[in-house]
């Protein structure tokens, strides 16, 4: 066991003294993560921090109860963090703000809107169509969609009240409980009562109760680098394991591997030590990259114990692939080129460049053979505040992958008599 450990540590030291290897193992993934941060706006307060302060313009030409209520709703405490409202008196100016991409939407409440919904005099038509104009910014579909949903919610409440008043009054007349002459007065009283009940009360008036429960844990805001940093680290982890594999073949061709066997060390110890060295190098690489991104990018990776376990499982799975490539190759150069190809393909299939959910279904299925996809799943879960228990699936998958690949590699190594004297 001691020999195995010593061989592993020796390989770890060798790898970290090799400047060319360090460029691939540490510098490149770090620089690419930095690049991802720059292009996604992570370092310039861009779109990675979630939706907030959506700028909108409201023009209230109604100046009556419903128009005022809609303006109040957008200025309420509830929406203070979500919406940044600008009041305007000129519909054209508000539309111009949208056209110039200054706001996500303009809401224009026309004169007579309240009157069209709740007629105050008998001459008005109850369903006369005076519509609110929602002038949306097509280049900000998400923000405009959210604002539209808020307007729709307001309108749904309004319609519910109108429906309740009209139904109640009509039924009261039909059942003879009130006379048609009293209808207007009863309707207005009821409308006022419903409006009073609804004021400042957005949720309770529905006939279906919505029980809201909040999951345990801290408030977590997803950081876009929480996706790309592990993506890049895992891509270059595949380089490390294949490079480590090529060193086994290099030692064989250079004669240092048979020379080791002259010492009182058996072939299993030598091969085990070499594999242990690759595993240690991969784990060190991942932990250094995680530490560096935490330090320089203030990236929160999540539960520390979970991270360590996931890193070990991911490196185990990746080392399995490194061994398989080594077992199938004849020369160190072959391991290098096939390893690089596998590194890039796995990075693509595992979601290092783009979220795997955006890929075609066949690619998502193929991605399951890569340690990248499973580890990414785990890292994303942890970054979102997941705990150790939620890592069971990715860790189990990575360990199974590693064991299977090691078994296949062992059979192939045996056939090749890799460490024979």
């Amino acid at each position: 066991m001691k020999k195995l450990f010593l061989i592993g540590i020796k390989d770890l030291k060798l790898r970290f003294r090799d400047r060319a290897a360090l460029i691939f193992m540490l510098l490149t993934p770090f620089i690419l993560t930095l690049g991802m941060g720059l292009v996604t706006g992570r370092f310039s307060g861009g779109d990675s921090s979630g939706i907030s302060d959506i700028p909108i313009a409201i023009v209230n030409l109604d100046n009556d109860s419903l128009g005022d209520a809609l303006v109040d709703a957008f200025n309420s405490e509830d929406l203070a963090d979500l919406v940044e409202t600008t009041l305007s008196e000129d519909p054209e100016a508000a539309r111009l703000l949208v056209d110039e991409d200054e706001v996500a939407a303009a809401i224009i409440i026309p004169a007579g809107f309240t009157q069209s919904v709740i007629p105050q005099n008998e001459n008005a038509l109850p369903n006369e169509e005076i519509r609110i104009e929602f002038y949306a910014n097509p280049s900000r579909p998400t923000s405009a969609g959210i604002i539209k949903a808020i307007v729709d919610g307001f309108m749904a409440r309004l319609d519910e009240m109108r429906l309740a008043s009209m139904t109640s009054v009509s039924q009261l007349i039909m059942s003879g409980r009130i006379s048609p002459e009293d209808a207007n007065q009863v309707g207005q009283e009821m409308g006022a009562r419903l409006q009073q009940n609804d004021a400042g009360n957005t949720n309770e008036a529905t006939a279906i109760t919505l029980n809201t429960s909040t999951s345990a844990g801290e408030d977590v805001e997803f950081d876009v680098l929480s996706y790309f940093a592990p993506g890049m680290a895992l891509m270059f982890l595949m380089y490390t394991v294949s490079y480590g594999g090529s060193s086994i073949l290099a030692e064989k061709s250079q004669g240092t591997l048979p020379r080791l066997l002259v010492s009182p060390t058996n072939s299993m110890q030598v091969l085990g030590g070499k594999i242990f060295g690759i595993f240690l190098t991969g784990a060190a690489q991942m932990l250094i990259l995680i530490g560096a991104s935490s330090l320089f990018f203030q990236l929160k990776w999540g539960d520390a114990f979970g991270i360590v376990l996931l890193v070990l499982a991911a490196v185990f799975g990746a080392t399995g692939w490194g061994m398989l490539i080594t077992a199938l190759a004849r020369t160190p150069a072959q391991v290098g080129s096939v390893g690089s190809a596998v590194m890039l393909i796995f990075a693509m299939l595992g979601g290092s460049f783009t979220q795997i959910e955006n890929m075609p279904a066949i690619v998502q299925t193929l991605g399951k053979i890569t340690p990248n996809a499973w580890a990414m799943d785990g890292f994303t879960t942890l970054a979102l505040g997941g705990t150790l228990t939620s890592l069971a699936r990715p860790i189990l998958a990575l360990l199974t992958m590693g064991i299977l690949l090691f078994l296949i590699s062992a059979v192939l190594f045996g056939k090749k008599n890799l460490v024979q004297k």
Binding site: T167, S170, L210
Partner: protein, 397 residues
């Protein structure tokens, strides 16, 4: 001339001596173009907030709620089984979960016992937006039942019903009336799309074909640095000193050989895009001009890198790193238009940005030779600048 050709030919023989070179020359670029074309965000995706819905109640009310949620402009419902939804929610892969229990039906709403479960993370803005959307959906679905309930209450306030049956009949009549009134409800909001300029042109296949072409050609051309470092390490450069070959002849032979191979590689990838995606690259002379200028710029940078980097291993690593980084920042992987404004400006100092812009001018905007002259000119400027530095600093030893 013969010497230049001999050096270029020797490099081609060395490079393609291993069959694995074809992996990087053609096979991987094609795989990447194919996979990336289906997976890069275009900006047209459904960006509504994802809401996982478990519909345990197989009732019309439940279906109406889901249908209302699908119409929402802020949330995107995704139906899952209870087990899968809980597993995703617990593992934080789904942050918002709505459960419609089996007991949800007309009777439960009438009795005011109907309940839905909405699970959310703490202090989350998306959760608050989604909660509003769910409230709106259930309000729309239940408002007629709510109106009938209120009608019954109003009636009770003016005298009791003689029997439970009479109350139920009153409720049913009110419900019918409320439904017909709801059906006649006028639209209250008109949505108009503004005239915000949106000049973001994007075609996944065109962007990916051009972007991957640049990535896979720039990296090996930066790799000229590794070629120089290798020959210097092996002593073969020194050996050339003993032959009647000048520095200029050697450099010209090496660089022109690599540029020629890069142009062939690019032409093959252009042809692949034509065959696989039926892409129209436009004027062949303009395409050839852009490809050659891009290759010259990349080769010049590789030459300069080769004069600074000492070992082959380091040169290989740095070439790949620089190639990937420049491709990423130059908009070859993700559309430049999606970058923050400041990054779009910074990216202008990179040759990959101009190469990408030139190719997209050809692919998306139908540009001709004259239109791409600015981009070609800038790339040639890069080539002149970096070749000058490279030749000036180049040493055989």
């Amino acid at each position: 001339m013969k010497k230049i050709f001999a050096i270029a030919w020797k490099d081609a023989v060395v490079r393609f001596g291993s069959a694995s070179e074809w992996l990087f020359f053609l096979i991987l670029p094609i795989i990447f173009i194919f996979l990336f074309a289906g997976g890069v965000p275009s900006g047209d995706e459904d960006n509504r907030i994802r809401l996982v819905v478990v519909a345990q109640a197989n009732t019309p009310i439940s279906q109406e709620i889901i249908s209302e949620l699908e119409k929402s402009t802020s949330v995107r419902p995704e139906l899952l089984s209870l087990e899968e939804a809980q597993e995703q929610f617990n593992s934080r892969r789904a942050s918002l979960l709505l459960i419609i229990p089996p007991s949800l039906d007309l009777r439960s709403i009438q009795n005011r016992t109907a309940q839905l479960d909405f699970r959310q993370p703490p202090n989350d803005m998306d959760a608050s937006i989604a909660e509003r959307a769910v409230q709106t959906a259930i309000r729309r679905v239940s408002s007629s039942i709510n109106a009938a309930n209120l009608a019954v209450e109003e009636a009770k306030a003016r005298g009791t019903f003689e029997s439970a049956e009479e109350e139920q009949v009153y409720f049913n009549q009110a419900l019918e009336l409320a439904k017909s009134l709801q059906a006649e409800s006028p639209e209250r909001v008109t949505t108009i799309q503004g005239n915000t300029p949106d000049d973001f042109e994007y075609d996944p296949q065109a962007n990916v074909s051009a972007g991957q072409l640049i990535t896979w050609v720039f990296i090996p051309l930066f790799g000229i640095s590794a070629l120089f470092a290798y020959e210097r390490q092996q002593g073969t450069l020194r050996r050339i000193l003993t032959t009647p070959t000048s520095k200029a002849t050697f450099l010209l032979g090496t660089i022109s050989g690599q540029v020629a191979m890069a142009v062939v590689q690019m032409i093959l990838l252009v042809l692949f895009a034509v065959l696989a995606f039926r892409l129209n690259w436009g004027n062949p002379i303009a395409v050839f001009l852009m490809l050659t200028c891009s290759a010259l710029a990349a080769a010049a940078i590789g030459t300069t890198m080769g004069t600074f980097i000492k070992s082959e291993g380091q040169a290989t690593g740095l070439s790949i790193m620089a190639g990937m980084l420049m491709s990423m920042l130059g908009g070859c992987w993700y559309p430049l238009e999606l970058f923050p404004a400041v990054m779009q400006n910074i990216a202008r100092i990179l040759p990959t940005t101009w190469a990408m812009q030139g190719l997209l001018d050809l692919l998306l905007r139908g540009a001709g030779v004259v239109d791409i002259l600015p981009e070609a000119g800038i790339l040639l400027g890069f080539a002149v600048l970096f070749f000058s530095v490279g030749v000036w600093r180049f040493r055989f030893e």
